[in-house]
Each structure stands twice: as structure tokens, then as C-alpha cells.
């Protein structure tokens, strides 16, 4: 019970700090007035801009933490990251197309998440297909195929950015999205994000027992009745859906998917039934605070969210790598 209390307390405190943080810091009293329906411009700005942004950051972080826990569980590797499998890269390419290519039809706000989903699915399916054709459907084969696909997708995205950015397209918008950043949604948009997050959470929870059994090793998992080949393919696709949702709403935010499950594992242990929700809570806390720093550190400019998580997450990754190599 204690770790959950610690996690929830930290999240509430982090949420309160993030809601106050900004170019112009708000007091808790101002937040309460805004939430109570005060009609001043200040209150309306807090209610219509800052609060949805903070909540959206929490959802994006929760999705990243959840996706990371699924991928680390499926590859039984604490250094596995959604980005290694190409799912984030695929979502990134899809979103870049939505931002750069005039497709007509649906508005960009709809096209971007749709193409991000399509990109993540496509990239992950490619990774699974390549590893199957190569006859290496194990974790190492999938990871290596993922690294190769991610590299190709990153090159394609860079090419699109160079080739299609002209007077009519603001390259900075694309770049800031690639560098990660949560856009302020409307309350209706936030409702959609909440529904998507809940669906992703439910999807991930269905994998919990399989991930635990898989963690016993492939031979033991098979003897415990798990169809390892099918489960791994399904879990990878499910993890990609979760990551695609995060990328669609938060751009490319690095290292949260790596770090959140680690912190969660310290708090609640490695069993996936508690680990998945705990990873989501840690991810939500990390991105909420990182977004608060992004909005308030260098006013009036805003630092890309992905830069902050990379600066904090890079040393964390090196620490984990060094510890693993020493072990």
C-alpha cells in the first residue's frame, strides 16, 4: 500500500506544481478560483490553456510509461525502449507527413494522430515481418530489426523535412514536434485523449499475466501454456498502439518509456500487474514535471519537452547500462 500512496502523493504534488508553473506563475488560490468558474481573463486562461495542457502531459507520460513497461516485459530487457522497435519512429514519420504534406480532406488535428497510429503500426509490422523472414523471431532479432527500421524511418523523416519545408510550411513547427512537446488540447480533445489512454491501459493490463510468464524464460513460458510466438507478436503490436498514442499527442519524447518502468519496479516490484499501472503513474509524473520546466524555465520561450527528458534521461540510461555491464 505504501508505494502506491507515495506515487499518488507525488503525482498530486507534481500536478499542483505543474498547474502553477508557467511564464507567469499562478498561485494555488488563483487555480482554485479558476476551477470554481471565475470569469476573469486570468482564470479563463488558466482553465482553458494551462490545466488541459497539464492533464494532457500527464496522459502522454502515462502512455509512455505504459508502453515502455510493455516493451521491456516483452523483450525481457530493462534497456528496451519503444524507440528501439521503430514504433516511435514510425509514428514520427506519420506525424511529419501530416504536418508537411498537403493531403486535403481531413483537418490536420485529425490527420496527425491517424497517420501517427498508421506509422507506428506499419513500422512495428515491418519489424515483425523482417525478423520472421530473417528467421529470428526472438527478442534479439526483433530488437535488431527495430534498430534498422528506426534508422531508415528517421532518415525518411529528415528527408521530408528538408524537401518539403518551404514558405508555406513552418519547419519550426515540425521540428518542435519532432523534439517533443504536448500541445494544449480543448476540453473535448482532452476527453478523447482520456478515452484513448483508458483503452490503452485496459489493453496493456490484458498482457500482464503473459508478460509475467514470459519473464520466466521462453521454455518455461511454453511449458506454462503460453503460445510465446503469438503472444510476443500481439504484445509488440499492443505496445506500438500505446506508443503511437503517446507520440500523436506528445511528439517524440525520449527516455520516459525507459526510465518510468525502472522507477516503478523499485517501488512495486517486477510483477506486471502492479508494474503496468505504476509505470503509467511514474511516466505521468515525469512528463508533467518536465512539461512544467519546459513552460517556465526560459520565459517567454518554451523549451522542447523532448530536450528536457533527453538531458535527464541520457545520464539515467548510461547509469543503467554501466550497472548492467558491471553485473
Amino acid at each position: 500500500m505504501k508505494p502506491w500512496l507515495v506515487l499518488l502523493s507525488c503525482l498530486v504534488a507534481g500536478f499542483a506544481v505543474a498547474a502553477c508553473a508557467g511564464h507567469d506563475w499562478a498561485t494555488p488560490a488563483e487555480l482554485v478560483r479558476a476551477a470554481a468558474g471565475d470569469d476573469t481573463m486570468r482564470s479563463r486562461l488558466l482553465l482553458e490553456w494551462r490545466l488541459p495542457r497539464v492533464i494532457a502531459s500527464a496522459f502522454v507520460g502515462a502512455l509512455l510509461g505504459l508502453g515502455g513497461a510493455v516493451f521491456q516485459g516483452v523483450f525481457r530487457n530493462p534497456l528496451a525502449e519503444p524507440y528501439l522497435l521503430g514504433s516511435a519512429g514510425g509514428a514520427g514519420l506519420g506525424a511529419a507527413i501530416a504536418l508537411l504534406v498537403p493531403l486535403g480532406g481531413l483537418p490536420q488535428s485529425v490527420m496527425l494522430p491517424l497517420l501517427a497510429f498508421a506509422g507506428a503500426w506499419g513500422a512495428t509490422a515491418s519489424v515483425v515481418l523482417i525478423s520472421r523472414v530473417a528467421g529470428a523471431v526472438d527478442a534479439a532479432g526483433l530488437l535488431l530489426a527495430g534498430v534498422a527500421v528506426a534508422a531508415v524511418l528517421a532518415a525518411l523523416r529528415s528527408f521530408l523535412m528538408l524537401a518539403l519545408s518551404d514558405d508555406t510550411v513552418n519547419l519550426q513547427v515540425v521540428l518542435s514536434w519532432v523534439l517533443g512537446g504536448v500541445q494544449t488540447p480543448t476540453w473535448a480533445g482532452l476527453g478523447v485523449l482520456a478515452l484513448i489512454s483508458a483503452a490503452c491501459f485496459g489493453l496493456a493490463l490484458t498482457l500482464a499475466r503473459g508478460l509475467d510468464v514470459l519473464g520466466l524464460g521462453e521454455t518455461m513460458a511454453k511449458s506454462f501454456g503460453l503460445d510465446v510466438r503469438t503472444f510476443v507478436a500481439l504484445a509488440v503490436l499492443a505496445g506500438s498502439v500505446v506508443v503511437a498514442a503517446a507520440v500523436a499527442y506528445g511528439g517524440l519524447v525520449a527516455f520516459v518509456g525507459l526510465a518510468a518502468p525502472h522507477v516503478a519496479r523499485w517501488l512495486v516490484g517486477p510483477l506486471h500487474r502492479p508494474l503496468l499501472p505504476a509505470s503509467a503513474l511514474v511516466g505521468a509524473l515525469v512528463v508533467t514535471l518536465a512539461d512544467a520546466i519546459a513552460r517556465s524555465a526560459l520565459p517567454p520561450a518554451e523549451i522542447p519537452l523532448g530536450l528536457i527528458t533527453a538531458i535527464a534521461g541520457g545520464p539515467f540510461f548510461i547509469f543503467l547500462l554501466a550497472r548492467r555491464l558491471r553485473a
Binding site: 499475466r209 520466466l216 511449458s223 506454462f224
Partner: protein, 247 residues
């Protein structure tokens, strides 16, 4: 009744034939030791019997039904498999590990978890992590995980190899006694224990069965000496005999 049989099993991997037209039949109850030199195909036979490896040709029947036709869950409930090496990827607690073993039965009976923990003397270790356990404690955890649901068939791939002599004796006795009312098939390197504790011994050599019979009869067969490339002395000890490898 859940007899197990392998019919004309061929297993080829990477161009090599690991099991060559191998046929064996086991009754629903009894203790069987599988022995043979390194590379004889013992571990692969265990995996094929457990449904973990699909044979290139032939079929494994459990209670008269081909194993691949069983659902993964039904197979897990019917066959308990103890691997040669077991190292979980995550540092789970003893309680979590045994619970995963109990839950594979699907409709786990309440109290099974506590009973298994108690039966294998793990009560004091419930909250301990796998990485903090000694070899003997790990062996008991593995037994509790696999045997918690009392599967009708137990396949053990030399799980006691890394244990000290006392824990090895305990583990092998447990596995052999399991065959009193169910089927227990155990890969053994220790020929002395195999012939003393098991009812039947199957001798394997290069993917096929070199000899198969009751332990009492088979201990005298010259095939043993030929398969292992060693001249054994049969030493009378108490009311039985043991094998002593001549130097």
C-alpha cells in the same frame, strides 16, 4: 488415465538429426530415469514430450490424444516440466514465482498456493527475491512452481545437476516418489541414483533408445558399458547393486 507415448519421433535442427525414429511408451504411473552420454538427445526428448519443441516427424500422444491438439492451457495443466536451467529474467519473490506456477492451472483451487509454499518448506522465504536464494532453495522453489498443481505427468530435465549432494538426494527422491501415483520421467546423469531410485531406466545414445527396461534388469546389460564407453563394475550393496565406473 494419462499415459504418454512418443511414436516414431524424428527431430532435426540445423541439418543435424537429434532424435532418430524414436518410439517410447509410458503408463499413467511410474518413475522413469532417462540416462545417456552428453549429446544423446535426452533434453530434446524431454522438450518434445512436453510439447515445447515440435518434432520434424512422428507424434507425441497424451492419454491417446496428440499433444499439439491440446490447448496450451490443457497441456500446461497435464504436463509439468522442470528445465535443466532456470533463471527468471526479473527478480521475482518466492511467493510470486510459486503463484505463477499455481495460476497456470487456470481454475486454481483456493489454498493451493499456501499448501505448496508449506509443502516445500518455503514459508520463511515467501518474500525473498530469487537472486537472494541459495541453490537448494532455488531447487525447492522450482519444484513448488511446477508441482503445485499436481500435473499427471512430470518431465524433469536433470534439475538437480547443480545442487550439492544432500539437496540433490532430496530433489531426486521427490521426483522419483512423484511416480508412485503419477508419471515421472527424469533425465539423470547420476547412474547410481537412477538405478537405485527409479523403477524403469531408458538408455539413450545418439538420438535413439539403446536400452529400455526395469532398473533391476537393466543394471546388468552390457549396453550400458558400450553406450558410456566405460567398463562398469556391479557392486553388491545391501539388497541391491550399484554401478562403479572402472578407471
Amino acid at each position: 488415465m494419462t499415459g504418454l507415448s512418443a511414436k516414431n519421433i524424428v527431430l532435426q535442427r540445423g541439418g543435424a538429426t537429434l532424435l532418430a525414429d524414436l518410439s517410447l511408451s509410458f503408463p499413467p504411473a511410474g518413475s522413469v530415469a532417462i540416462v545417456g552420454p552428453n549429446g544423446a538427445g535426452k533434453s530434446m526428448l524431454m522438450k518434445v514430450l512436453a510439447g515445447i519443441e515440435a518434432p520434424t516427424a512422428g507424434q507425441v500422444l497424451l492419454g491417446g490424444r496428440p499433444v499439439p491438439e491440446l490447448s496450451a492451457g490443457a497441456r500446461a495443466r497435464a504436463i509439468g516440466y522442470l528445465p535443466q536451467h532456470f533463471e527468471p529474467h526479473w527478480d521475482l519473490s518466492v511467493l510470486d514465482l510459486v503463484r505463477l506456477g499455481v495460476e497456470r492451472a487456470g481454475d486454481a483451487v483456493a489454498g493451493v498456493l499456501d499448501r505448496s509454499i508449506e509443502q516445500y518448506e518455503l514459508t520463511a522465504l515467501r518474500q525473498r527475491r530469487w537472486s537472494t536464494l541459495s541453490g537448494g532453495e532455488r531447487g525447492r522453489v522450482l519444484l513448488a512452481m511446477v508441482l503445485a498443481t499436481n500435473p499427471p505427468v512430470l518431465l524433469a530435465d536433470e534439475p538437480s545437476a547443480s545442487l550439492d549432494i544432500r539437496h540433490r538426494l532430496d530433489a531426486v527422491r521427490t521426483l522419483a516418489h512423484y511416480g508412485r501415483d503419477r508419471l515421472s520421467i527424469v533425465v539423470m546423469h547420476d547412474l547410481d541414483l537412477a538405478f537405485r531410485l527409479f523403477e524403469r531406466v531408458v538408455v539413450m545414445e545418439r538420438g535413439h533408445v539403446a536400452a529400455d527396461g526395469s532398473a533391476r534388469d537393466l543394471i546388468d546389460t552390457p549396453a550400458l558399458d558400450a553406450v558410456f564407453g566405460v567398463r562398469f563394475e556391479r557392486v553388491v550393496l545391501g539388497d541391491g547393486r550399484i554401478l562403479h565406473a572402472g578407471l
